[in-house]
């Protein structure tokens, strides 16, 4: 982890404990997770006890404490998606990839996560793939998406940017 980027994240926010969540958001965005080292640096930089940094990082769902897979499949489990069969999609993803929600596949290619609402309820069920929304999903469409992503693994950078 390049420490200068962490330093940049902290710039202008030093000794401001109220910036803790904002700083952690930026670290999460840049690195994909919050490491122990990052928490220590943030603790010193903002003047917040390490235990409080850990408490906040583990309390909010936005923060991951472990790296995620290269492709993050996020299943929306909001009410609107639920009544349209979001459960099927979670079963499809966990069954096909052999992991539980929150876990990463052994090859590091996929992690499956679920969130309580992505706020695109009219188009449910929604699956977000690295932040890009796929609407009106079915198990079959999801299966194809997983296969497509799996075969992209050799093509280098295939990041789909969040909109």
């Amino acid at each position: 982890m390049p420490p200068q980027t962490l330093e940049q994240t902290l710039e202008g926010r030093r000794s401001q404990p109220n910036q803790l969540i904002e700083v952690l958001q930026d670290i999460q965005k840049n690195y994909g997770y919050i490491s122990k080292e990052a928490m220590q640096i943030v603790s010193q930089g903002l003047g917040v006890p390490l235990i409080e940094v850990y408490r906040v990082a583990s309390f909010y769902k936005a923060f991951r404490l472990k790296p995620s897979g290269k492709n993050v499949l996020t299943m929306c489990m909001g009410t609107a998606c639920h009544v349209r069969g979001a459960r099927l999609l979670l079963d499809q993803a966990t069954g096909q990839l052999g992991v539980k929600p929150g876990e990463v596949t052994p090859d590091g290619l996929f992690s499956v996560e679920h969130v309580n609402c992505l706020g695109a309820c009219a188009l449910g069920p929604i699956v977000a793939e690295n932040g890009s929304y796929h609407h009106h999903m079915t198990p079959a469409k999801l299966r194809k998406l997983v296969e497509t992503l799996r075969h992209q693994k050799t093509e280098g950078n295939q990041n789909v940017q969040a909109q």
Binding site: I21, Y60, K61, T79, R84, A120, C121, A122, A140
Partner: protein, 617 residues
């Protein structure tokens, strides 16, 4: 544009911008909201822009990338003025035709028009589409005229004139009086009278006060705040500025969910724009009013929708609520008097100031004034954002606007108010959308989520769904919520898995009552509502699960079995390939079989079978 130092300079700017747009003959409004973006509207926007410039129309035709139009199911959506022409499911390949035929020649492209699924006819004009016709779009209609990230658009549309009216000639007391007499109540869920909140905050001792906009829309199945903040952020900001002037605050925060990246980006953009023009900062428009706003991103915790938890989160702490013995209008953010309102509440303020409180109060019922934006979703034909006058019957929203259930099914219930609300059965559909009436009926208006359920939705499973959600989201600070929800979920799980006993229903009611009375915060107190309302209106479903071990909707896995109807199965193999558990066997073109031992009852096979051959019993 340079900083505006007086009211006159703002008006001059408005006139100048309007003058610049005199030559514009046509406006093409493409929805750039999250729903349409998920349907790849960005590609449509780029294609239309390229086409306009290729045909040399950039100066005469205005391409306006707007916020949500509400009818997300039909995205990407384009509206063309004049003519109010509504095109849906537009693809980038349609750009040439849209520009050449409709914009230049004024001809309508039949295949892009919306087809009313009930009447089976195409509809040409947006306002005649049944989904829009029965609405009263006071706030959402403003989304159409502005590019959310253009302060010029907002000013041309009359923006910041409510602020000018307030700063020029209204005392804070007058502003509060106007809000009080409008009858505006909080749109976030609580329905607390906004004017009273402002008045108490103004009277609270202390010079340092805050206003906060709650855009932490955590209710699953609700996204109206997202669309207002994404689609017209200047409107929300203007509302906050008026509120800040009224209560005497110099600092405000927009607390927005980080799961809404577009809302975060747009909020940041408009704050920057307003600062540059001097609409935020010291001595706004040359007046004595100074005010600034910062954006605080939420961390994805449902409990942070609760006012005290939200304030803790703005302070950078864990989002746990604190007891409200002293209200937050006196002891709020950083222990200072704080007024917290929801996005939609703030968005209502400028119109009330401009049009007067009696205009606002002329809509709605005795206790609930104005309009309410609802997120109409679930097992219904027309899903999207709907804005209706308070007092509109649920039936109108579900059937006239929503078009009824999908697949010819029968509508069974509507869930309103999210995890704090309840499920109302069909025979309550004549009830008006009104804070007090829905509360009496065991549900609530809440933030406006309306999830429609049909005969394929199990109401016990719904209660279980909400308890699972709440167990996951409970912050764990107070015992009744932390353990009460756990025990209720345990009991309901027993019922859905065939271990239920009749006496457990009384236990559930008792537990629910205890949690409602003793939990620390509003979210905990209302957490039992989904259980209580389903028990109240759908008790026979619970009893069928317990006594007959049956889930009539075919949802609860432990009570159903999957099999294949050999008469309908033609051995196409789709289910065999689809089953992730390898539970289906069969030869090509011969009826397949499900191995009950391996079947996990996920239902994937049923969702994929095109011949309706998978049976659930």
């Amino acid at each position: 544009m340079s900083r505006l130092n007086s009211f006159r300079e703002l008006e001059h700017l408005r006139e100048r911008l309007r003058g610049q747009r005199q030559n514009i003959t046509t406006t093409v409004m493409v929805c750039g909201g999250t729903g349409c973006k998920a349907s790849r509207s960005q590609a449509v926007i780029d294609a239309v822009r390229d086409e306009l410039s290729r045909q040399g129309l950039d100066t005469k035709v205005r391409l306006c990338v707007t916020g949500c139009h509400g009818f997300c199911e039909q995205g990407p959506v384009i509206i063309i003025e004049p003519g109010n022409i509504f095109y849906c499911h537009v693809s980038p390949e349609d750009a040439f035709e849209i520009v050449y035929q409709t914009v230049v020649k004024g001809e309508v492209i039949e295949r892009l028009l919306y087809t009313d699924p009930v009447a089976g006819k195409t509809v040409r004009i947006m306002s005649e589409i049944p989904f829009y016709r029965a609405q009263d779009r006071q706030i959402l209609s403003q989304n159409l005229n502005v590019d959310p990230c253009s302060i010029e658009d907002y000013i041309v549309a009359g923006g910041y004139s409510a602020l000018t009216k307030v700063l020029r000639g209204m005392t804070p007391e007058n502003v509060i009086k106007e809000i009080v007499s409008s009858g505006l109540r909080g749109r976030g869920g609580g329905g607390f009278p906004t004017g009273r909140k402002w008045s108490e905050c103004r009277e609270a001792p202390g010079d340092e006060k805050y206003v906060i906009c709650n855009a932490d829309e955590g209710d699953p199945g609700a996204y109206m705040d997202r669309c207002v903040l994404e689609g017209n952020p200047h409107l929300v900001l203007e509302g906050m500025m008026i509120g800040a002037w009224a209560i005497g605050a110099r600092k405000g925060y927009i607390y927005v969910r980080n799961e809404y990246p577009l809302a975060v980006e747009h909020s940041r953009t408009v704050v920057e724009q307003a600062r540059k023009l001097g609409l935020l900062g010291d001595n706004i428009l040359g007046s004595s009013f100074s005010f600034d706003v910062d954006i605080a991103r939420g961390g994805g915790a449902f409990v942070c929708g609760e006012s005290t938890a939200l304030m803790a989160s703005v302070e950078g702490k864990v989002g746990e609520p604190w007891p409200k013995d002293i209200h937050t209008v006196v002891d709020g953010l950083y222990h200072k008097p704080t007024t917290l309102n929801n996005v939609e509440t703030w968005a209502n303020v400028p119109s009330i100031i401009l049009n007067g409180s009696s205009w606002f109060a002329s809509k709605g019922t005795r206790g609930s004034k104005g309009t309410k934006i609802l997120a109409l979703t679930g097992r219904i034909k027309n899903t999207g954002l709907v804005e209706v006058a308070m007092g509109t019957p649920i039936r109108t929203v579900v059937f006239d606007i929503g078009g009824g259930a999908v697949n010819g099914n029968r509508v069974k219930a509507v869930q309103t108010g999210g995890p704090s609300g309840g499920c109302l059965p069909m025979d309550k559909f004549d009830l008006p959308i009104d804070f007090d009436v829905l509360y009496e009926a065991g549900s609530m208006v809440g933030s406006g989520g309306m999830v429609v359920m049909d005969e394929e939705t199990c109401m016990v499973d719904m209660a279980k769904y909400f308890l699972t959600f709440l167990q996951d989201e409970s912050c764990g600070k107070c015992l009744p919520c932390r353990l009460g929800i756990d025990r209720m979920l345990e009991t309901i799980t027993d019922i859905t898995e065939g271990r239920g006993k009749p006496e457990q229903l009384d236990l559930l009611e008792e537990l629910a009552d205890t949690v409602a009375q003793t939990a620390l915060c509003g979210l905990g107190k209302t957490a039992p509502n989904p259980v209580l309302s389903t028990l109240r209106y759908f008790r026979p479903e619970y009893e069928a699960h317990i006594n007959e071990k049956k889930c009539l909707a075919g949802v609860c896995k432990a009570l159903i079995t999957y099999s294949i109807d050999p008469d309908k199965c033609n051995g196409c193999g789709v289910c065999l390939r689809g089953c992730v558990y390898g539970a289906i066997t069969g030869r090509k073109k011969q009826a397949h079989i499900i191995d009950a031992q391996l079947c996990q009852k996920c239902g994937i096979c049923r969702s994929e079978c095109k011949f309706d051959a998978i049976r659930v019993a």
